[in-house]
């Protein structure tokens, strides 16, 4: 027994030394000359893995199970061999995303989910509490062992918790930026790793060569002892089977990665990725060194203290004490203290960061009443939360120690925590290798695994401590045997940890994979997933700087795409990709395709080509170019609209112009034709009047004939002028219509009478077949007479004189009155049926020469009939006469009555 005050003073002196080291390292860091930027310091800091559990507990477990303590150290040794693949990736991702903790890492991977971060934090805190309580138990137990109980101080463990809390606050909350390195803490932890290794080696060497005569001596003595000899067999005591070895190895493989303190020193505090190279062999070397003397000490203790009178967990202390090796005892105590404080400081700092960043702050920021988002400086609040979290975590650890700690050996407590943090593995490892993992999947997996962990490990621990009824363990809840926490669904015969690990991993991995496959990830999730999984496809310095270097990374392509087509469309386009990974070229093609739909194939191709050809375009430049391009797209779209409008206007103008040109051409042609038509009768008139004037001696008969021609041509001229005026008026709409009710019978009879002279001259017979009575029509009498005259005179004109016959018929036809003028003339070939209704177009008969008339009559007639609401057309075939018909609408009875 040492003097109590000596132990206390030395313990505080040691803590002060630690603090001095930390302070020095922080000063150096502030000055820019880091002391921890070394692979050796880094490797030593990783040895925070070896805690009081290792320092005291390994010997305890070895004393119980022989080599059964080894899986806890074989696991990390195996795992670290894979770190170049796994941890380097996590390191890269964390650096690029400025990850602050394990919870942050998982949350960030799954679409920056605050909920997921909170869940991880809760699991970590609850899961790690047993582990912290283990350290408190070890420190207080070792103190009591060395210095005895201190009267008037009460519970040593509580004091240990409070002192460690104070120390952790000093070490860990000097800086606020958690992504920055805690250089002082790392330096102190590395120092502590050295101290606990030296202390353990010192006591090991003393036991091996001081107490006994080397390894051979100890093992020979054990072999000679019948009670102890079975422990030399490799798998002698570990739950009796290989599966426990395998599961414990796997468990510690996961623990070395996902214990919050390991994540802290390995990932967050890492200064240089290349430090991993040395750590990969230095850390296993450390593990080997600290374990070399475990069996000798354990066997030494068992040989020295037969019959289990001394707790095997305390052999490292009790052996030197029993030989009055006071200095060595003190060294061992300091070594154990080192192991415990290192663990507690780093673990609580890591946890407090998680509690603050992923649990408290998201909630606080959502509480609008606090108006946190309006506060400029949250430093004080953050530090307060972290310090509060540190105290709370240590006090909770103490509480767990009081509730459950006494029932278990150190190693068992530690394994419960190992099993808890192992629950992070599917979400975290799946997250960096499998893009298909989703937020819902991660939540489901973590929750399921954690619940099974609670049920199979935490609750039994409470039950063993008589905090829950023990019957819950022996008979299952409500007596349901299948649900017995230690033999779930009838699976028994395994040790507790193996059993819990099998079931929690089945639940965790199963839920993670199943739910992930069930739901497609959101856009943000997908982006983050690709960012994590494809982290090595981006260059090492890609803090978002150089994006494209020979390979286009999917999230950048996605971003690119989303800026143009919108998030939803881009997600849809990428949905195929996440289900079934395409070759990169295909993805580029896909994006190019989509971009092409927006900025045009050429621009998209150039964009993508520059991307793939390692052009030194930064992401911001690409964005700028694309933003510009999208602006241009908008502008050019508008321009296109404008130009389309212009095009339409131009076309309209062109059409109008063409119509005008056509009208102008028609007018010119009309004028030209009219002038030609006028010149023809004028020529005869002028010529004959000159003849009559120049030849006064002409015979009377000839004179009379010439005068007759002059008169006829004058009439023709007059008629022509009248028709031209009619056309002009009809076309300009300046005709005055004098409409009245007409009896078409009268109209036809009168017209026939007035043209009878013409018929007689040509010797053509005119027959009128008129019904007794027809309904009246409303039209302009003079105009309708003009039409009938035109049709009759046309008929006469083209008929061969002598045997000609023209027949006029009148009949009701639907709502119309129809007039047919049928002749037995030469007829009109079908291609002329419409032509003859155009101005100055005549179906001239080549045999009879040029037809008489101006070529305006039918045109005018059709305009008149159409104006009156009827139709004028011809039916004819060459050689079979022609029938010109027109209709006029009947006047309704109602209109008549009115």
């Amino acid at each position: 027994m040492l003097e109590t005050w000596v132990v206390i003073v030395i313990a505080f002196a040691y803590l002060a030394l630690l603090f001095a080291i930390a302070y020095y390292a922080d000063q150096r860091a502030d000055a820019g000359r880091s002391v921890i930027n070394s692979p050796y310091i880094y490797s030593l800091s990783l040895a925070v893995y070896a805690t009081a559990w290792t320092f005291y507990g390994s010997v305890g477990r070895a004393a119980e199970n022989g080599v059964g303590f080894l899986p806890i150290y074989i696991g990390p040794t195996l795992m670290i061999a894979l770190w170049w693949v796994v941890m380097r990736k996590i390191l890269r991702i964390s650096k690029q995303n400025r990850i602050t903790s394990l919870a942050d890492f998982v949350a960030s991977r799954y679409g920056k989910s605050a909920l997921l971060g909170g869940v991880v934090t809760v699991i970590a805190v609850i899961g790690i509490l047993p582990y912290i309580s283990l350290q408190l138990k070890a420190v207080s137990a070792s103190f009591t062992t060395v210095a005895g109980a201190v009267p008037g101080l009460g519970d040593t463990a509580l004091w240990v918790a409070l002192i460690l809390a104070a120390f952790t606050i000093l070490f860990g909350t000097r800086h606020i930026d958690t992504a920055e390195h805690h250089e002082g803490m790392v330096a102190a932890v590395a120092f502590e790793s050295l101290v606990k290794l030296l202390a353990f080696v010192a006591v090991g060497a003393w036991v091996t060569w001081g107490l006994y005569r080397g390894f051979g001596d100890i093992f020979a003595r054990v072999a000679a002892e019948p009670a102890l000899s079975p422990m030399l067999a490799p798998f002698g005591g570990v739950g009796g089977d290989y599966s426990s070895w395998i599961w414990l190895t796997m468990l510690s493989m996961l623990a070395i990665m996902f214990l919050p303190r390991q994540f802290q020193v390995t990932v967050i505090e890492n200064k240089n990725e290349d430090h991993l190279r040395k750590a990969i062999w230095l850390f296993p070397l450390y593990m080997l060194a600290i374990n070399v003397f475990v069996l000798p000490i354990a066997f030494g203790g068992l040989l020295h203290f037969p019959s289990g009178s001394v707790d095997a967990d305390s052999f490292v202390l009790t052996l030197p004490m029993s030989q009055k090796q006071e200095l060595l005892t003190l060294v061992v105590f300091i070594g154990g203290l080192s192991a415990a404080t290192g663990m507690v400081i780093v673990e609580t700092i890591a946890l407090s960061t998680m509690v603050c960043n992923d649990l408290v702050m998201p909630v606080l920021l959502r509480m609008r009443a606090l108006r946190l988002n309006q506060r400029a400086d949250l430093t004080g609040l953050l530090l307060g939360i972290r310090r509060g979290a540190i105290v709370l975590i240590l006090l909770l650890g103490y509480l767990y120690f009081k509730l459950a700690g006494e029932a278990y050996a150190l190693v068992s407590i530690g394994l419960i925590s190992f099993a808890a943090v192992a629950q992070f593995a599917p979400a975290a490892l799946g997250g960096i290798f499998w893009k298909g993992g989703t937020r819902r999947g991660a939540l489901a997996g973590l929750s399921a695994g954690f619940l099974v962990w609670c049920y199979t490990l935490l609750l039994p621990a409470f039950a063993r401590s008589a905090w829950l009824p023990i019957g819950f363990l022996e008979h299952g809840p409500f007596g349901i045997e299948l649900l017995k926490p230690l033999a779930l669904f009838g699976v028994s015969g395994l040790d507790q940890i193996t059993h819990a690990m099998i079931w929690s991993m089945v639940a965790n991995v199963g839920a993670y994979v199943a739910v992930s496959l069930l739901h497609a990830p959101g856009a943000e999730e997908h982006r983050q997933a690709t960012l994590f999984v494809d982290v090595f496809k981006r260059p090492a310095d890609a803090g978002g700087a150089r994006v494209w270097r020979g390979s286009a990374s999917a999230p950048e392509l996605f971003n690119l795409l989303a800026r143009f087509v919108g998030l939803r469309a881009a997600s849809d386009a990428f949905a195929e990709f996440s289900k079934k990974p395409l070759p990169e070229a295909e993805l580029v093609h896909l994006v190019e395709n989509q971009l092409a739909g927006v900025i045009g194939a050429a621009s998209a191709h150039i964009m993508l080509a520059s991307v793939v050809k390692e052009e030194a375009l930064t992401l911001d430049e690409v964005r700028a170019v694309l933003d510009e391009a999208s602006q241009i797209v908008v502008y050019s779209h508008r321009l296109e609209q404008k130009s389309q409008e212009l095009e339409r206007a131009t076309q309209e103008l062109r059409a109008a112009n063409e119509r005008l040109t056509e009208l102008d051409r028609m007018k010119d042609e009309f004028v030209s034709t009219v002038s030609h038509e006028l010149r023809t009768p004028l020529t005869s008139i002028r010529s004959f009047t000159e003849i009559l004037n120049d030849n006064p001696q002409l015979p009377a008969a000839e004179r009379a004939r010439f005068l007759g021609i002059v008169i006829k041509e004058t009439e023709r001229l007059t008629r022509l002028i009248g028709q031209v005026l009619d056309v002009s008026r009809l076309e300009s709409g300046r005709v005055e219509w004098h409409e009245s009710l007409l009896d078409m019978r009268e109209v036809i009879e009168d017209t026939a009478a007035s043209t009878s002279q013409l018929f007689r001259e040509r010797n053509v017979r005119l027959e009128c077949n008129l019904p007794g009575r027809v309904p009246k029509v409303r039209a302009d009498l003079d105009r309708i007479v003009q039409v009938v005259v035109n049709l009759l005179s046309n008929a006469v004109k083209f008929i061969e004189p002598g045997q000609g016959r023209v027949e006029v018929a009148l009949a009701e036809d639907g709502g119309f009155l129809r007039v047919d003028v049928r002749d037995n003339g030469p007829g009109i070939s079908p291609q002329h049926h419409e032509l003859i209704f155009e101005k100055f177009r005549q179906a001239g008969d080549p045999l009879t020469g040029k037809p008489q008339g101006s070529g305006l009559g039918l045109y005018i007639s059709r305009r008149i009939i159409e104006h009156s609401g009827g139709r004028l057309w011809v039916e004819s075939r060459p050689g079979q006469g022609a029938c010109f018909s027109f209709t006029l609408p009947l006047v309704s009875e109602a209109a008549l009555a009115a």
Binding site: H676, R686, G849
Partner: protein
């Protein structure tokens, strides 16, 4: 002297016939282009009064074909047209017409041109 008159307007034809006979020319008439060509080749007139606007074969075509045929190349051609445009006159002259007279014409001018060509 033989004068052939090609004209499809009967009244104008009557007046031209009267005027030519009054000048003591031997006169024949044609009422369309093809008849004019046939008569010109068979009868070989000294001069042809040729209306441009005629059925079957217009005056320009008649003129071109008479000029292409060595037998009728020497026939004097006076073209008559109701179209007073320069373009038509030029076209007629380019085809080898000797004179171009627009309708309505002055009898004196017409006779003077015909006489001038025939002397």
């Amino acid at each position: 002297m033989r004068v052939l008159i090609a004209e499809d307007e009967p009244n104008i034809l009557t007046s031209l016939e009267f005027l030519m006979r009054n000048c003591d020319y031997e006169v024949r008439v044609a009422r369309d282009g093809e008849e004019a060509l046939r008569t010109a080749q068979d009868w070989l007139p000294d001069l042809l009064l040729l209306d441009v606007m005629m059925p079957l074969c217009n005056g320009f075509e008649v003129c071109r074909r008479l000029r292409d045929n060595p037998a009728t190349r020497a026939v004097k051609i006076v073209m008559l047209t109701a179209h007073g445009r320069d373009a038509q006159i030029e076209r007629g002259l380019a085809l080898g017409a000797d004179a171009y007279i627009t309708k309505p014409f002055s009898n004196k001018d017409l006779i003077a041109r015909v006489r001038g060509l025939l002397e």
